[in-house]
Amino acid sequence: MTTHNALYKYLLFLGDNGLIQGHRLSELCSNGPILEEDLAMTNLALDHIGRAQAFLKYAGEVEGKGRTEDDLAYKRGEREFYNNLIAELPNGDFACTMARMLIVSSFEYLLFTALCTSKNATIAAIAAKAVKEAKYHFMHSRDWCYRLGKGTEESHRRLQNGFNEFWMFTGELFEMDADFAALANDGIGADLTVLKPQWLTLVQPILADSNIAIPNVDYMQTGSRNGIHTEYLGHILSEMQYLQRAYPDAKW
């Protein structure tokens, strides 16, 4: 049986993934390697923040305390964020950024595809929009993986390095807790354990075609389902929330 609180937390998970990933990508605005990719990074950021806005708005309604999407974005502490750890990690170089985008966009594509049939009409509606965007993100990062992986020795090394950095954060994407399981059971949330083999089927051939070896990792990072994060989230929030913390309820 899905509790009210479980749904709220699930919406934070969906919204925070978009918000934190979008904020990370927005750091590349004016820092892209070439103009076209600068535009691409900011477009990716915009899609993520757009979906965050939709999910967090609904989260505020479900919570029922009159909080808006802005309140939830700017006035929650680190331990109240439920985004996957991979979203908060630094961008690294461009190859790293593309390695992460391949991992994240393929996961999001499968997640939103599954959520399109959610019994919760609002989640299904937002997912139906987000899945189209995630598909473009996936195609974009896939093409860059081919290009960098089969490019020069240096571009290959940098891309491999990117996957080496991020691979230990891929286990968490598919982690379920009691709330997630209850939501999946009720047809509201997605069963992430089912997505894992689908994800591997999607990603493995791309890595193989890009001459990238799947990293061997003995240990997968975990924590975000309980609000436990890497040190990087606090730094993102201190920047993102600065204005609202310094000047509460400031408007422009």
Binding site: L39, G50, R51, K129, E133, Y136
Partner: protein
């Protein structure tokens, strides 16, 4: 000022047909498929719109434009509601709308079935200037969320392609 029947859905639609997407000023929000419905309540008029992309930054301006225009025409308490379902698709654009985009220099979206990503279709984006199909993608992401950047190998002009969605 043309006076429209502000008590019928058709009248409101005609009125709002003058509002354009601020980023594509040749096509109205109705032609874009963003204007979905009008619901009349006892004391208010609710306009239902849907965004092209979840993060479309034009939505705020469009909402303000709708409210201002309706108020100007004497509509009592106009309000705008944003819905996500059914998800907006470029397939809702008519051929006339697509031609307006081309005339403006934006290649029109192909049918959404073109975007099979497992096996990219052999579909060609035609240059809006010389109609050549000998074109190439410069970037999948262009100047706005809804467009990609292309260039024509024949007339050498860069152009925007309205992504099928």
């Amino acid at each position: 000022m043309v006076s429209e029947d502000i008590h019928s859905k058709e009248g409101i639609f005609r009125l709002l047909s003058s509002i354009c997407d601020p980023e594509i000023p040749v096509v109205s929000i109705e032609e874009m498929g963003m204007l979905r419905d009008v619901i009349f309540h006892e004391h208010s008029c609710e306009v239902i719109i849907t965004p092209t992309y979840t993060g479309c930054p034009a939505m705020g301006i469009i909402e303000d434009d709708i409210i201002a225009l309706l108020k100007q025409h004497g509509v009592q308490e106009p309000k705008v509601t944003l819905v996500y379902s059914p998800a907006w698709t470029t397939d809702w654009m008519t051929e006339t709308t697509k031609q307006k985009l081309r005339d403006f220099g934006i290649a029109a979206p192909m049918h959404s079935s073109c975007s099979s990503w497992i096996k990219p279709a052999n579909a060609h984006v035609h240059c809006p200037r010389c109609n050549s199909k000998n074109t190439k993608v410069v970037s999948q992401f262009g100047s706005t969320a809804c467009k990609a950047l292309y260039s024509c190998n024949d007339c050498k002009e860069p152009f925007d392609y309205f992504k099928c969605h």
